[in-house]
């Protein structure tokens, strides 16, 4: 593991940047199962985690992978797993458990092409809605989407911070292009990376109620095996973690689960914008598509066309405030994505007639090219 004190320029594959980010964030537990195109993350973890004094284990399937990850986190370690669509589907029940029991963990999903086995080595962005709604029961979720190797590093660090801060599962939704592209990355000095750790209880064990709201909506979290003997369950539970069916306790827990994240929506507007000024058309994109989109917007500006780009780095909770600003300032927006319109549904939902929402969709397993986006922009301006 790197211990650099000055910025370091390195050639990294996206998956490698993800692993470096996880280790920098303090990840010390990985459990997973091999699956293309996410296997590199597991292989690197198997090599690097033991060197950092962390635990690596290859489990028998993805269900076990995230189960052990949750166990590692309950044992006090920052923990993650990584997979692709088929494995991500298998993990959904345990994502729901982690949301309910409030266990911090990071799940990386490197999206492949198509439903089912699909196109294992090709990109699509078909899991945007699964990441939000795939796990059963009503609960909030946090999903970030990197568009480059650097962002894969950066957003993995931040995913751990979010997981620890909110005691929530956090999904890093990458795509095959981002995970497999090798590019030059400038890694920050370790001391400059902001790291958040879960809040631990300060009260003596006999006073500890594992799910009592301290006022922030996020109860302090003890690890198992450190003298706080408490109960954790996926059942609806009271402040002591004991099962309950009482209406008042159910309502209180459910609302706290939602409010602990919704109270911070204003802090969760993670995006980059380019060529905003005078942009009549805004391209909205995320993941590797945002790279093509930036190129397209530059080409358009070279031609004197008033086009900007809004790159979303957080997909869920959906950044309504930010997107609305662009819907108000633009004549048209183009949502470009490698699916038949998953994020664009959200954009249309918050649009409410402010501007025209166009979509550019591609589902043939090939990247959306800059010229395809440029053509759509020119069509929109015509």
């Amino acid at each position: 593991m790197s211990t650099q004190t000055t910025p370091e320029r390195v050639l990294l594959q996206g998956s490698e940047a993800c692993v470096r980010g996880a280790l920098a964030a303090g990840c010390r537990f990985y459990a997973g199962y091999p699956i293309t195109p996410a296997t590199e993350i597991m292989e690197l973890m198997s090599r690097m985690l033991p060197q950092a004094g962390g635990v690596f284990i290859q489990m028998e399937d993805e269900i076990a992978g995230i189960g052990a990850t949750i166990g590692g986190s309950l044992g006090g370690l920052k923990a993650m797993t990584a997979t692709s669509g088929p494995g991500f589907s298998l993990m959904q029940e345990h994502i729901s458990f982690a949301a309910m029991a409030e266990v911090p963990c990071v799940i990386v999903n490197v999206m492949r092409g198509g439903p089912s086995t699909g196109l294992p080595t090709r990109p699509m962005q078909g899991d945007v809605m699964q990441a939000r709604w795939g796990a059963h029961g009503d609960h909030p979720i946090l999903v970030v989407a990197p568009s480059s190797a650097y962002e894969f590093f950066d957003l993995t660090v931040k995913a751990f911070n979010l997981a620890e801060r909110y005691r929530s599962p956090v999904i890093v939704l990458a795509d095959e292009i981002v995970a497999h592209t090798r590019e030059s990355v400038v890694l920050p000095p370790l001391a400059e990376i902001e790291i958040e750790d879960r809040v631990k209880p300060t009260v003596p064990p006999e006073w500890y109620s594992p799910y009592r709201d301290p006022g922030t909506g996020i109860p302090p979290m003890a690890a198992f095996g450190e003298g706080y003997r408490f109960h954790v369950t996926g059942l609806m539970h009271d402040i002591n973690g004991f099962p309950t069916q009482r209406q008042d306790e159910t309502q209180e827990l459910m609302m706290r689960l939602f409010n602990k994240i919704s109270k911070d929506f204003h802090l969760l507007q993670w995006y980059d914008s380019y060529y905003d000024e005078g942009a009549e058309i805004t391209v909205i994109a995320y993941g590797s598509v945002a790279r093509s989109a930036l190129r397209a917007v530059k080409m358009a500006r070279d031609k004197g066309l008033p086009v900007g780009l809004l790159k979303l780095k957080m997909l869920w909770p959906f950044m309504r405030r930010t997107v609305m600003q662009y819907l108000e300032s633009s004549r048209k927006v183009i949502v470009a994505e490698m699916n038949m319109g998953q994020l664009s549904r959200e954009v249309k939902r918050v649009n409410q007639g402010k501007c025209e929402v166009l979509t550019l969709n591609k589902i043939d397993g090939q990247m959306i090219t800059p010229s395809e986006i440029l053509a759509k922009v020119e069509e929109a301006l015509a």
């Binding site: 590692g72 923990a79 002591n240």
Partner: protein, 273 residues
């Protein structure tokens, strides 16, 4: 007998609302007593016991006890337990599962935990039926039995859970019944002391469903059946397969040694650091 409730009360959570969820005549309460006695006998600190369960009647066992307790998802208790054991190797991790939990939905995790030799004691409460959901056939339901999900008779053949985990590599395998409480206390104690993946299969009556469907009668009748049909392992070796039909072979079936996963992992730590 006077001593038993007092001992149990030292380990029950005073803050937990009772009554418990189990039916009158259920075997799980007897297992809970045996587990507590074995833990007490072993001299473990409450802080060092990690009790993990899955879903089903047996899944509700940990919440009543004053240890580190975790109630997970159906069939997956061993996966969570694996993570906890590796994060906190000093913990004595005990997993309690039912027969459906352990050998149907959780069958993959059961055999791989045994193969991996993760240092966990697994107690499988085998009542040969899905109790909590209302008496459907499980992987240990006898061939031909009419259940809530096999009204014309069960078409499938049952697993021998102990043989399954033996073949998968468990280093300690024992079977007992809840009738034979002394033996049950003893084998749980041995399993707890064993380094590596140890399994105790506990035959327990489900009066409400299995008893009704088999016509075995009252809780007392079902206990008497266990008493009359248990055959010690040593004796069973001398008996033919025909003689062993519908018998419960009890005792320690496997007791071997091999390196545990977390010890091997710790060795890697030392070598690569």
């Amino acid at each position: 007998m006077k001593q038993t409730p007092q001992l149990i009360h030292r380990y029950l959570r005073s803050s937990k609302r009772f009554p418990h969820v189990w039916c009158p005549g259920c075997g799980i309460g007897i297992l809970l007593g045996a587990l507590v006695r074995a833990i007490d006998e072993g001299g473990y600190s409450k802080d060092d016991i990690m009790l993990v369960s899955g879903i089903g009647c047996s899944g509700r066992l940990p919440v009543y006890l004053d240890f580190n307790t975790l109630h997970t998802t159906h069939g997956r208790a061993l996966t969570f337990a694996t993570g906890i054991k590796l994060a906190k190797p000093h913990l004595k991790v005990i997993v309690v599962m039912g027969d459906g939990d352990a050998s149907s939905i959780g069958g993959n995790h059961l055999i791989h935990s045994a193969r991996r030799n993760i240092d966990i004691t697994t107690i499988i409460v085998n009542n040969q039926i899905y109790g909590m959901t209302g008496g459907q056939a499980s992987p240990t339901t006898p061939f031909g039995l009419a259940t809530a999900s096999s009204p014309y008779g069960h078409l499938e053949h049952p697993f021998d859970i102990s043989k399954l985990v033996e073949a998968a590599g468990a280093v300690f395998v024992a079977r007992s019944t809840v009738y034979h409480t002394k033996a049950l206390d003893r084998v749980i104690g041995q399993a707890l002391k064993k380094k590596g993946f140890s399994v105790v299969e506990v035959m327990a009556p489900c009066v409400t469903h299995f008893g009704k469907m088999t016509g075995m009668g009252s809780p007392v009748d079902m206990m008497r059946w266990q008493k009359d049909n248990a055959v010690p392992f040593e004796k069973a070796r001398e008996m033919s397969a025909e003689e062993l039909q519908n018998k419960i072979v009890t005792g320690v079936l496997v007791d071997i040694g091999k390196p545990t996963f977390h010890e091997e992992h710790a060795r890697i730590w030392r070598e690569v650091k």
